[in-house]
């Protein structure tokens, strides 16, 4: 890769971040107007939230089960299996719940939102709305952004609940850990403010990031089938990177 090309990539990357920032400001500016389209926002919350429930619940269950298996083995080396419930819950609430839910939503709902808006762009539907004096930012972009913000913490909570249930299934029902020990240690150690709410804050931020990237990629997708396909891919790639990067930064500030 020569220096010019590298510089070009760098400039394009910085320009894209700048464009996304300006788009974010525009979406925020359109939020008050988008409250008029509350039905559309509800529809999007249903699409992003309720329609993602199956994948989020299934993955949450298996993540909890795998964690319980692995941690039981590790904790048994130190004779600390009584802490299984605590460790599973803390891992889920603080890290895995928000992060994995965000990755799942980016893959399921984020790509769908990008493809939908990209196709609306390609078939002039966004321009048609503009020509009917309906702001597409308020009617299309802002409700989807809001839906991500609302749905993500709810989905992360469902993921956590299923994860703990999975951990209980493996730890208590299968491996024979005492039920009282599992729940008692967990409830006495997990803090509402430091653990549960911090995780929820993370998931709200991730919800905003994923939906912003998805909407931005759709809105700026080149109006071709290849362009929409690339934008959809970029939604998953960029969302995954940004989620993990933000997770690191937020964890550093929260611990």
């Amino acid at each position: 890769m020569n220096a010019n090309l590298r510089r070009n990539w760098l400039v394009q990357g910085i320009a894209s971040v700048g464009d996304c920032g300006l788009f974010f400001v525009a979406v925020l500016g359109a939020l008050p107007k988008s409250l008029r389209y509350w039905r559309e926002t509800c529809r999007q919350v249903w699409f992003v939230g309720a329609m993602s429930l199956v994948i989020v619940m299934t993955c949450g269950l298996f993540v909890g089960m795998v964690m319980a298996l692995q941690l039981y083995y590790t904790l048994s080396i130190f004779g600390g299996t009584a802490a299984l419930g605590t460790v599973v819950a803390l891992s889920l609430f603080r890290e895995l719940g928000p992060v994995i839910t965000a990755l799942l939503v980016a893959g399921r709902a984020g790509t769908a939102v990008t493809a939908e808006i990209g196709l609306m762009r390609a078939t002039d539907q966004l321009d048609a709305m503009g020509m009917m004096a309906v702001d597409p930012l308020a009617y299309v972009a802002s409700p989807r952004f809001l839906a991500g913000l609302i749905a993500m913490p709810l989905l992360a909570s469902v993921f956590n609940a299923m994860g703990i249930f999975g951990g209980h299934l493996v730890g208590v029902t299968w491996l024979g850990l005492d039920n009282g020990t599992f729940w008692g240690n967990m409830t006495s150690t997990v803090s509402l403010h430091k653990d549960i709410l911090d995780g929820l804050y993370k998931s709200i931020v991730f919800g905003g990031v994923v939906s912003l990237i998805a909407v931005f990629q759709g809105y700026t997708a080149p109006p071709t089938s290849e362009g929409v396909a690339y934008s959809t891919t970029r939604t998953v790639v960029f969302s995954s990177i940004v989620i993990l990067a933000f997770d690191f930064v937020m964890t550093a500030f929260m611990t």
């Binding site: 196709l119 609306m120 078939t123 002039d124 539907q125 321009d127 048609a128 709305m129 503009g130 020509m131 009917m132 004096a133 309906v134 702001d135």
Partner: protein
């Protein structure tokens, strides 16, 4: 070269006034000082070779695209400098028929036509229903009100888009290729509808189209655009018989003339590798 442009309404009675419009898209110069006036209450057809900027002109008129320079006035408002809010205010008075219909794919035919009304007019549901059904009846698709856009043919989708464009009885309707994909019956009805809207409600119409026979039936005047400028303007029948190189080539369908048929390219024989074999 003679440019056969006739006067078409003084600026005072023009609903649309374009002055010294200059637009460059990428490396291509689209408009190079275009001047155009569309009288209030008229049906004006914009014609010209493909890629000459007819759709771009419509996008300038509605503020979807800002020109590099020049003035675009619609109903006395300078579109190029309007704020977003003011632009949306102006667009409420303009109907636009997109080249590819641009129906909202999640909505039924009825809801597509009702969409502008639901957004801008707080009408009782019964009245809204009657207005929508009236417009659908006008384009012959009242019976298709419950269908989804994916269930329509290209011509039907165009007629639904036309019903949506006229649902607000706007002061100005811009039609981008309104006759493409219509069967002769639908074409005749759409022509009649455009004319009726013009005569009964005084709606000004600007059509971008290539179908000369249809334009002769419906348009009061034709503006021929080529090389970024208005090269001829007048009544359709006059223009067809006008003796200018532009009109002769365009209406005669000749490959040779001021408008090149071939996109600029290197020498044909050289590109095929035969240049050296020439005697």
């Amino acid at each position: 070269m003679t440019v056969a442009v006739a006067e078409s309404g003084s600026p005072s009675d023009a609903l649309v006034q374009v002055r010294d419009l200059r637009t460059r898209l990428g490396a291509k110069l689209i408009f190079d000082g275009l001047e155009l006036a569309v009288p209030r209450g008229s049906v004006t057809a914009i014609m010209g070779p493909s890629g000459t900027g007819k759709t771009t002109l419509l996008r300038h008129l509605t503020g979807q695209l800002r020109p590099d320079a020049g003035s675009v006035r619609v109903d006395g408002e300078e579109v190029t400098t309007l704020s977003r809010r003011a632009l949306f205010g102006l667009r409420e008075r303009i109907g636009y028929l997109f080249q590819n219909s641009a129906l909202l794919t999640d909505f039924s035919v009825f809801e597509n036509v009702a969409f502008p009304l639901r957004q801008h007019a707080r009408l009782p549901e019964e009245l809204l229903r009657n207005i929508v059904l009236t417009k659908l009846q006008a384009v012959g698709l009242r019976g298709a009100a419950r269908l989804m856009p994916s269930e329509l043919s290209g011509g039907m989708a165009r007629r639904v888009a036309l019903a949506r464009a006229i649902v607000f009885d706007p002061m100005l309707i811009l039609y981008d290729e309104p006759f493409v994909g219509l069967d002769p019956i639908a074409l005749n009805q759409v022509l009649r509808l455009i004319r009726t809207l013009n005569r009964t409600l005084g709606i000004t119409s600007i059509l971008v189209a290539h179908e000369l026979a249809a334009i002769r039936q419906v348009a009061d005047s034709v503006c021929l655009i080529a090389n970024g400028k208005l090269v001829a303007q007048g009544a359709p029948d006059e223009l067809v018989h006008q003796d200018s190189p532009w009109t002769r080539q365009f209406f005669g369908g000749d490959a040779d003339g001021p408008v090149p048929f071939h996109y600029p390219a290197p020498d044909y024989a050289t590109e095929l590798g035969f240049a050296g074999a020439r005697p």
